[in-house]
Amino acid sequence: MKKTLFLALLTLREIASQRIYQILAAILMFVPWLMLIPASLFMLDIGKVIIDLLFLCLHCWLLVYIFFIATPLLARDIEQSTCHIFLTLPMSRAQYFLARFAGITSGFLPLLLLFLISGSLAIAFASSAWQGYVGSNTDTSFIFGTLLILLPYIALTAVLFLITSSASGLPEITVFLFSVWILCWTIPPVLAALQNVEIQQSTSNIVMVIIQATNQLLPDLSSSEISLAMAHNHTIETVQVIGYCIHHLAYALLAMLIAILLFRRRDLS
């Protein structure tokens, strides 16, 4: 346990010392304020537009973190055999993977905190500047929505470990992770649209089966319904929220479990 905690903290320090991480943190302090400029162009639902734009920022920085900070960190361990330093402590491969996962996911937290503070202040300013056009619950919806949207990215981080467990290096990990992300981004909303009877009638059964089968294998990254509900200050039922959280956390743990099993059998020589 001590070793796992040590490596998790070391991972966090490694991440925090990177220039891109520091730049990202600095950007997150003022970008939510910039979002007020395009939001001011709208007429009635300005609060909704602000949340849409803040969620766009959220997706962007989460992707930057995973693709440009977490992925190279793990890929370096494999490509430059840095992982051997930890594995000869001695530390088991399972402990090594779990510690890296804990370190990388905890790296989200400082950025998340900055984003939430800056976003909330920007919303508070917008509420006073455009009274009546920004709902009183916009702040709460933003914070709640942000926390919910983070969960699929924790699942994506676990998928990163799953890919890394058998990938040869950075290009391979990036290509596969990007493909998974694209599929996760596009398929769930398409499936939701396919529930429409008129569209179902004009779509062939084979296409429907392929899309649904692919969707079962991937985490539901879209969170599109949550984005819409939060932007319009709609309430989501507690059961739905619990189901959503369990779905993503269970998916992350399952992916990590498979990743550890694959990594234990991997030839690292």
Partner: protein, 226 residues
């Protein structure tokens, strides 16, 4: 090879001038007037949903920004050649409505621009009436009813829409009164002017011209002056 400032500065100046010139001649417009707007089909929403992914609300926001662009571009052409722009406008409003049916700006622009600027009354009624399951407001249905009565002369549809509007939680006595007046088919012209004047107050100044023109046309009607 050593780089000297006497070489770097003129070369950088020439390159900068080329960048400025290139930008000034490549007047890229978002929409080309000659380009026909694609015809909307329900299957197209699959494409929009796929690219919007987790952010359908943002896709609706972009559609609204496109509507602003289209309107601005249309104002640069003569009124007789604006039909292509109006097709684009209708398309973007459909995209916005499909991607975020709760977004009130879509219905406001449908009323203000698609109906009274583009004169696409049937299409406006179609979009406005789709608000029913998503909004608690009676406004879009009431406007759809008004357009159906006043412009499409379809009182059956107008009454149906007004009746649905009057069942909304925020329905004002005016809505109920309007629905009943439709039944009686009385107070048509004056009520229309009153209604439009009320709607115009809720639109931003620069988008009021279409409604203002419509009021003028109605006021020129003998029935309104009786």
């Amino acid at each position: 090879m050593t780089l000297r400032w006497t070489v770097i500065v003129p070369v950088a100046g020439i390159l900068l001038a080329l960048v400025v010139w290139g930008r000034s001649v490549s007047d890229i417009q978002l929409y080309a007037a000659h380009q026909e707007a694609p015809v909307w089909s329900d299957k197209q929403q699959l494409f929009y949903r796929a690219w919007a992914g987790a952010l359908p609300g943002l896709a609706a926001d972009l559609a609204v920004l496109n509507v602003f662009n289209i309107y601005a571009e249309s104002q640069k052409t003569v009124p007789s050649s604006r039909n292509t722009w109006w097709n684009h406008l209708h398309y973007q409003l459909r995209v916005g409505q499909i991607m975020d049916p709760y977004f009130r700006d879509i219905y406001r622009l449908t009323e203000g621009l698609l109906a009274y600027e583009a004169n696409k009354m049937q299409e406006s009624v179609e979009i406005l009436s789709k608000s029913e399951p998503f909004l608690n407001s009676s406004d879009p249905l009431l406007v759809a009813s008004f357009i159906a009565h006043q412009e499409l002369h379809n009182d059956e549809l107008a009454f149906d829409l007004a009746n649905r509007a009057s069942q909304k939680p925020d329905a004002q006595p005016f809505t109920v009164g309007y629905a009943s007046s439709l039944l009686k088919k009385s107070n048509g012209c004056r009520a229309a002017v009153q209604f439009l004047a009320g709607r115009m107050q809720t639109m931003p100044e620069k988008y009021q011209q279409g409604i203002r023109n419509r009021i003028k046309r109605l006021q020129a009607n003998d029935e309104c002056n009786d």
